[in-house]
Symmetry: C2
């Protein structure tokens, strides 16, 4: 995903590597606003985070913002966002984090421990600044006005530098963090930004839960995946096999190719061959779609197996693992 440009931008990643090289280390932070179901695009920051944890053997903090999701959506109850939190945590654990170096916490449960840190942050940010950064309006509820202080708090969970793999849409939070970190006696957080996987239905925009065929959900069964891809995946290929053989596909518009490129085909030589064959017309749309269906279903099958095993690990990541235990027994600095 680094090679293929899913993570396409960073801020201070060089300082993170310097800190690590000089023995100071760093820590990782990412998070999720819980939803009824996660689609495969949602896994991207978690997969990179897990990979970095593995390579550098560092701590990971994962904030589950059940409060934010409730506050931002008039139609959701706190009971719902908490249920989704549990559900999403299973998918996150399935990514394969180290249970003794990873702390998954739900804001409505952990707020008591981080509140002092949160109000120290809140005192540094006024309504104008929050408004400019997050597009708040006079009609925004006061919970959403306060919320940024909660999302910033984990960047100060350790005195070391924090590295945040997250979608580019979260960047306003980190710019704000960098404005105030020094005055609170902490380091500015570093970021590595991911773009969004294009929706199945076209190369522009984001996958959306209000258009179910635009996304592949982690719970989609093989038949559903096949139907979504074959029927709805937007193709850059030609309308007929003859034309495709003659003119080839436009890869820039082809969502199945892009999903394979960004996410599912790790082998550089294979993706290169696919590009050549598909763009030249030697390969047909149906074949590329079939390849995507196979890759997706194999990915999802393994994910669901790990997800089942995750049930008995929830308490480890939230309360009983080495890092979790430390975070519950002492107040963050």
């Amino acid at each position: 995903m680094l090679r293929r440009g899913v993570f396409f931008s960073h801020r201070d990643l060089d300082l993170i590597l310097d800190d690590w090289a000089s023995g100071g280390g760093f820590f990782l932070y990412t998070g999720r606003a819980p939803s009824l179901g996660m689609h495969i695009g949602h896994l991207i920051p978690f997969m990179l985070t897990k990979w970095v944890q593995e390579k550098f053997s560092v701590n990971v903090y994962i904030e589950i913002t059940d409060d934010e999701k409730f506050l931002r959506n008039p139609e959701y109850t706190l009971e719902e966002t908490r249920r989704w939190a549990y559900d999403n945590i299973l998918d996150i654990i399935a990514v394969g984090f180290n249970p003794d170096k990873t702390f998954i916490f739900q804001n409505t449960e952990y707020i008591g421990k981080m509140y002092s840190l949160v109000i120290k942050i809140a005192k540094k940010v006024n309504f104008s600044e929050a408004s400019a950064a997050f597009g708040l309006k006079p009609s925004s509820n006061i919970g959403t006005v306060f919320y940024p202080a909660i999302q910033l708090a984990p960047t100060f969970f350790e005195q070391r530098r924090c590295l945040i793999p997250a979608g580019i849409d979260q960047d306003p939070y980190w710019r704000l963090q960098r404005d105030i970190a020094g005055s609170l006696g902490y380091l500015k957080a570093a970021q590595i930004h991911s773009k969004f996987l294009p929706p199945l239905t076209g190369p522009e925009g984001k996958m959306s839960s209000s258009i179910p065929e635009s996304a592949v959900y982690l719970s989609d069964d093989p038949k559903t995946v096949e139907r979504k891809v074959m029927k709805h995946a937007f193709s850059g290929g030609q309308p007929t096999a003859d034309l495709q053989r003659k003119l080839g596909a436009n890869l820039e518009d082809d969502v199945p190719y892009q999903w394979l490129y960004y996410f599912l085909e790790e082998d550089d030589s294979k993706i290169k061959r696919l590009e050549e064959d598909y763009a030249s017309g030697r390969m047909l749309t149906g074949e590329v779609k079939q390849l995507l269906v196979e890759k997706l279903n194999s990915f999802l099958e393994k994910h669901r197996e790990r997800r089942e095993n995750a049930r008995e690990l929830v308490d480890v990541f939230k309360y009983d693992g080495a890092l979790a235990k430390r975070m519950w027994s002492s107040v963050p600095p």
Copy 2:
């Protein structure tokens, strides 16, 4: 204090009494933003609250807003407001609440338990509304914007009606509570409003910690009390004894008389005689001041004795008393 008009206004006190008469009961809620020292005026809502608790045998919740004090004052640290919280709690306990029916909680400690309730409230209040009620500005920090949700939460600690004895300056909070209580499935809180004891230095305004001689602190020793009253108490008497004997005192301007009337001389016949003698000139300013010094020092001596005993009761009121234990073991409704 009811007879003398210290508590001069109410909202729905009749409904509180109806609820009690019909067996439904009610509960009391008041609070304090901790400060370096409490003056005698600060005790007024607590004294009435304690009296109502005794008469009706009801639960009392006392919120110590160490977060608010920190958020509103650029110059205070959280460590300071927490230290003052402990100190003020001793003065509050000294008022004589029932340890098994009173829960004293500090926001930075208890937020974890009430956060779900707090964000349900926050979701009902937008920035415009909070701004109109509390005079927020674009330059207000986002912690102060959110804070009203925290002050409102305890009004929903029981499904019964809440009665709040508090200074009239807190009324905007309760009006907001009454706007949203129904939509959250709770009853509108009832209030009983106190006015402020006039500053020693004149019949207008509030006692202020930036003008030490304007207030008598609970920690002032007898000599200090005597000096403050004799030297700084604003008198409605005449400049000379002769003139006073001839013209008498103006009680409306006389602070020593007002403190006796509002707070320290409970006996109606004694206060009536004082009024007659002082207004007619039979009593001199020095005598009234001397009476006030005696009453104050006797009040403060007893208070300080109870305050010393309060040290071993702090944990009972905060954690181990019957009501405190219940509030820590279960999340409020």
